[in-house]
């Protein structure tokens, strides 16, 4: 157990988790930024939001992902950034769960691991849950590894 803990709290593990989560969000935010109309349509597909709010989310969400991802990689407000991204992952899991439970046959709008879009499925929720777990590491044990200033 102590070895598990030693691994989980190791500064290298922290840096890895931080860079991984940040890089994934920078990568997946890009196609959404470039086509806000298409992304808004994917958001609408979840049928969770009132139509009035769909475009607002379609416009702002990719920027939140990009800025928080970039901040996380650069080490600017890393705990706040990773908290935002962990929150987004939690939202994605909840939204995906409700969409699947209601039997929606939709695209996930996640653009990961490839730029092509995938169908929303339970496997994607498991993947998001794993990413959420990884994103909790830098919140729990902030590391200064590969960063100049204290977190």
């Amino acid at each position: 157990m102590s070895r598990v803990r030693a691994f989980a709290t190791h500064p290298g593990t922290g840096a890895f988790c931080r860079l991984l989560i940040g890089a994934i969000f920078i990568y997946t935010a890009t196609p959404k930024l470039l086509r806000p109309d298409e992304f808004a349509r994917l958001v609408a597909g979840y049928r969770l939001l009132h139509p009035d709010l769909v475009n607002l989310v379609g416009i702002t969400l990719p920027w939140i992902e990009l800025v928080a991802g970039a901040f996380l990689v650069l080490g600017i407000l890393p705990r706040s950034s990773v908290l935002v991204l962990a929150g987004l992952l939690a939202v994605f899991i909840i939204a995906g769960f409700f969409a699947l439970v209601r039997g929606l046959d939709i695209s996930c709008g996640c653009f990961f691991p490839f730029m092509a879009d995938h169908k929303l499925g339970w496997d994607l929720l498991v993947r998001d849950a794993i990413l959420l777990l990884i994103s909790l590491q830098p919140i729990a044990w902030p590391s200064t590894f590969l960063l100049r200033k204290r977190l």
Partner: protein, 180 residues
């Protein structure tokens, strides 16, 4: 005791700092997004009104058929089924197909198109009309399969936009079981 007290208030201050940072980050990036969207040629209305809103609402219930693909009404699809005048392709995932499908329909999810199409080419070739369906108007698998078919050959393809759900709800014949 005193040091413990201090470390607790330190932790509270740190937590407040992290939460405040997160809030600032959310508001700041949302503002950047709205500003960029405003000046971008690809920008979309933040709060759609009138026709724009209607378009968003429509997109929440159905995926528009790309130009070039022909839709087929449920009643016409049923007629083609009764007359055995069409080959039905079920574009849903195989497990949903196994649960229930249009009798005689062939399961062809887009993800397995390459693998399955060679075996079906003969039947597709001979069919006077091909009717593709997925769950309903909100799914895109039928469109995807129809587009792949159009790339493959010169077939008469129709997309049953109302999909499987409408077929089942209409009480039309269904059958169960996986593809042999």
């Amino acid at each position: 005791m005193k040091s413990n007290h201090f470390s607790q208030s330190d932790a509270a201050a740190e937590l407040a700092r992290v939460l405040l940072g997160a809030l600032a980050l959310l508001i700041g990036s949302a503002a950047i997004g709205i500003a960029v969207n405003h000046f971008s040629p690809r920008g979309i209305p933040v709060f759609p009104v009138g026709q724009e809103l209607a378009a968003v609402q429509a997109s929440t219930v159905s995926i528009p058929l790309p130009p070039g693909l022909k839709p087929v009404e449920l009643a016409d699809a049923k007629k083609a089924f009764d007359d055995a005048a069409a080959l039905f392709l079920d574009a849903r995932p195989s497990d949903e197909y196994a649960e229930a499908h249009v009798p005689g329909a062939v399961n062809l999810p887009p993800s397995r198109f390459e693998e399955r199409f060679p075996d079906l080419a003969d039947r597709v070739e001979k069919a006077p009309v091909i009717i593709v369906y997925c769950s309903g108007a909100e799914c895109s698998d039928s469109i995807e399969v129809a587009e792949r078919l159009e790339e493959t050959g010169n077939y008469t393809i129709q997309v049953l936009e109302a999909g499987w759900r409408a077929w089942a709800e209409a009480g039309y014949p269904t059958t169960t079981g996986a593809e042999p």
